[in-house]
């Protein structure tokens, strides 16, 4: 009896999570995969015809927002590393006793809804708003100057919204570095720069990688920032997909979703390979 229980234990442990993911992730994903090759409309119904042309149509019609989203995702990730790494470094090594307070401060924006934070940015940055209005009146900025509806506004909004997801994993990686390793580097006559570049940074890379996964992927598929802060030329693929589903164009929306997913998996795996990370999933789980 005990042996049976011991044998069953791993299955029982995985059961809640496995069931949850099967019902709410695998099944919808399969349904979407199925939808992506169907034909029809809502009133007359959609029929499975294995129409792969849907994918071709999706790319030919919407390649522009698709490429733009990937570029925005890339820019956001880069900006988040540049801003987030020093921050995480400072908290991990110079934070002292207040470390957890600083981490809490980083998480503080999460207590306000994502959408409200983005809308408050819009309020702040609007053409004649509190920031730009006075500057224009003072003649510092030309009258036609605007921040909203530019690539910069959308990327900045994305970076702001996803920054904590970059800071936290890098912090965890840095925090785990054994201080004796750094001391050893100094003992071997490494300069501060060398110690950082050859010891600290490589050891922090798994954290950076996890950060890239957690900022780059959601940033590239975001649609809130583009619709609130963006203008005519800032439509992201998330907006397109959202509109397709809203108009009950399920096959087009589904095939676009799968193209996006494939592109992102491709990007992540090639990044992992370039980095020499043996196992993407293992690193991500750290």
């Amino acid at each position: 009896m005990r042996r049976v229980r011991a044998a069953l234990a791993p299955y029982l442990l995985v059961l809640p999570g496995g069931l949850w993911l099967t019902v709410f992730f695998a099944v919808p994903l399969l349904a979407m995969l199925s939808l992506s090759t169907q034909e029809g409309n809502l009133v007359e119904g959609f029929r499975q015809t294995f129409r792969l042309q849907n994918y071709v149509d999706a790319v030919t019609l919407h390649w522009e927002p698709l490429v733009r989203s990937l570029l925005y995702g890339l820019a956001t990730t880069a900006a988040a590393i540049v801003i987030g790494f020093p921050l995480a470094y400072w908290i991990a090594f110079k934070g002292g006793r207040r470390k957890s307070s600083y981490l809490f401060l980083i998480l503080l924006p999460f207590f306000v809804s994502f959408v409200i934070r983005t809308i408050s940015w819009k309020f702040l940055l609007t053409d004649e708003g509190v920031l730009l209005g006075p500057l224009k009146d003072a003649g510092v900025l030309p009258q036609g100057f605007h921040v909203l509806a530019t690539d910069f506004a959308v990327i900045a909004g994305l970076t702001y919204n996803f920054l904590p997801f970059m800071v936290l994993p890098i912090y965890v990686a840095l925090e785990r570095i054994d201080p004796r390793v750094i001391e050893a580097a100094y003992d071997l006559y490494a300069s501060r720069t060398q110690a950082f570049l050859r010891v600290v940074f490589p050891l922090a890379l798994p954290g950076v990688f996890a950060g890239v996964l957690m900022t780059g992927v959601p940033a590239a598929s975001d649609f809130v920032n583009a619709s609130v802060l963006g203008g005519v030329d800032n439509t992201m693929i998330g907006n397109v997909i959202y509109n397709q589903f809203r108009a009950s164009e399920y096959p087009m929306g589904a095939s676009l979703s799968f193209i996006l997913m494939a592109l992102m998996l491709l990007g992540i795996f090639s990044y992992a390979r370039a980095l020499g990370t043996e196992d993407v999933l293992e690193v991500a789980a750290r």
Binding site: V27, L33, L42, E44, R47, Q48, L61, E128, L148
Partner: protein
């Protein structure tokens, strides 16, 4: 363990690949099954006949409660209560739960469609949907309750001819209008020191980066068609294409700042855009709030009139209460009270006298506002004005696809 039973390790070795194969096979089979079975079935419904009306309404009784889903700024509120709905409760004994949950037609349709499809109640007895693609889908899919005209005496007696005859719901089978309005142009005189009178003015390079257009394919498409002298209601796919090219040109010139869902009015008020496609009532409400720089114009080339309709979705728990409210809204006092707040087109011309009487009783700012309203051609249009406004084209699913393929790329780029 005795000597006859095989080594467990061997047994595991033997069964493992097979077990894996079985999992794999069942997985594949399930996936294949799912792929072929996941189709979304069509639910095309036959048009409602007279017997269906009788069958539905027979034995239905008043429950004393009503769940009402509406758009924002469509009902005057005082704190948390709605005076008009409170009066309705007092007069009819029906308590109304009022929620401003409809932000735009496609999103709301997307939210309730799965429930309607599976035959469940969506939790609302009245929903308000604009004539257009979603209205057509609700009708075609059989998600609407046919109305019992014997319960609508005030509507049938009072509503103006434009409300009694609507191409998207001939014979008022499913809907009673909530209100109508015109899609035109709003502009901010603080920034625009010349006059804007026509759609072509929205192509003016002086407005570079300062024009807002609507992202709704039909609204946007209609503007493009009017510009080319085409009546949208009678337009052909060739007209759509030409209109799409004109709108693309406007976009390429860098005139358009943004294609708005429905949050354009604060953008015009704050100067983020200087001129914008707008619904008449939104603009008037903004003026009433004290924004003196806002102007609304009906474009010289033409404009569409749209109607938001009250519908009873299938599965509604309180249909009698719902239809009672619909009819109550067509008593002159109630209609006037609603109109004085929402500022859209009056449901019938006779309401002018009621509003005038209110103006005579009112004082100060309220009086001025009511007197201005009586004069407004967009609240009390003449029959000629009404005839000039065009309707929306009713699109079949196939036409809709083509229509969208012309105008959606303009918005999404």
């Amino acid at each position: 363990m005795d000597a006859t039973s095989p080594d467990p390790a061997l047994l595991r070795g033997l069964t493992r690949p097979r077990r894996r194969d079985v999992f794999r096979l069942t997985g594949l089979a399930a996936a294949g099954l799912a792929l072929s079975a996941c189709g979304v079935e069509g639910k095309k419904a036959p048009p409602a006949g007279k017997s269906e009306v009788e069958r539905f309404w027979a034995g239905k009784v008043k429950n004393g409660r009503l769940d009402f889903a509406n758009w924002a700024y469509y009902m005057e509120a005082e704190g948390k209560s709605y005076p008009l709905l409170d009066r309705f409760a007092k007069e009819s004994g029906i308590t109304v739960t009022y929620k401003e949950v409809i932000e735009d037609n496609p999103s709301f349709f997307g939210k309730v469609e799965p429930q309607l499809r599976s035959g469940q109640s969506i939790g609302y007895d009245i929903i308000v949907i604009t004539n257009g693609v979603e209205f057509g889908k609700l009708k075609a899919l059989g998600y609407l309750t046919p109305l019992d005209h014997s319960k609508l005496p005030n509507f049938l007696k009072n509503a103006g001819p434009q409300y009694q005859r609507r191409s998207y719901d001939e014979g008022n089978v499913y809907s009673v209008p909530y209100t109508s309005g015109v899609t035109g142009i709003a502009y901010n005189t603080k920034y625009v020191d010349w006059e804007i009178t026509k759609i072509a003015d929205l192509w003016d390079p002086r407005l570079k980066g300062k024009v807002g257009m609507m992202s709704d394919p039909q609204e946007l498409g209609n503007f493009g068609m009017f510009l080319g002298g085409v009546d949208p209601e009678r337009s052909t796919p060739a007209d759509w294409k030409k209109a799409g090219e004109r709108l693309q040109e406007q976009r390429d010139k860098g005139v358009v700042r943004k294609y708005y869902e429905q949050d354009y009015i604060t953008a015009v008020a704050k100067g983020e855009v200087w001129a914008c496609m707008a619904w008449s009532g939104d603009a008037f409400q903004e003026v009433l709030k004290g924004n003196k720089d806002l102007r609304f114009v009906v474009p010289a080339e033409g404009a569409t009139i749209w109607t938001d309709n009250m519908l009873i979705p299938k599965g509604a728990a309180n249909p009698v209460d719902a239809i009672t409210f619909m009819d109550w809204l067509y008593q002159p006092q109630n209609a006037a009270e609603l109109l004085e707040y929402i500022q859209y087109i009056a449901p019938w011309d006779g309401l002018k006298d009621v509003v005038k009487a209110h103006a005579a009783e009112a004082k100060g700012e309220e009086k001025a506002h009511l007197e201005k309203m009586v004069q407004s051609p967009l609240v009390f249009p003449t029959a000629e004005d009404l005839a000039r406004f065009r309707g929306y084209r009713n699109l079949t699913p196939a036409e809709e696809k083509e229509f969208r393929s012309v105008f959606v790329p303009v918005v999404e780029g």
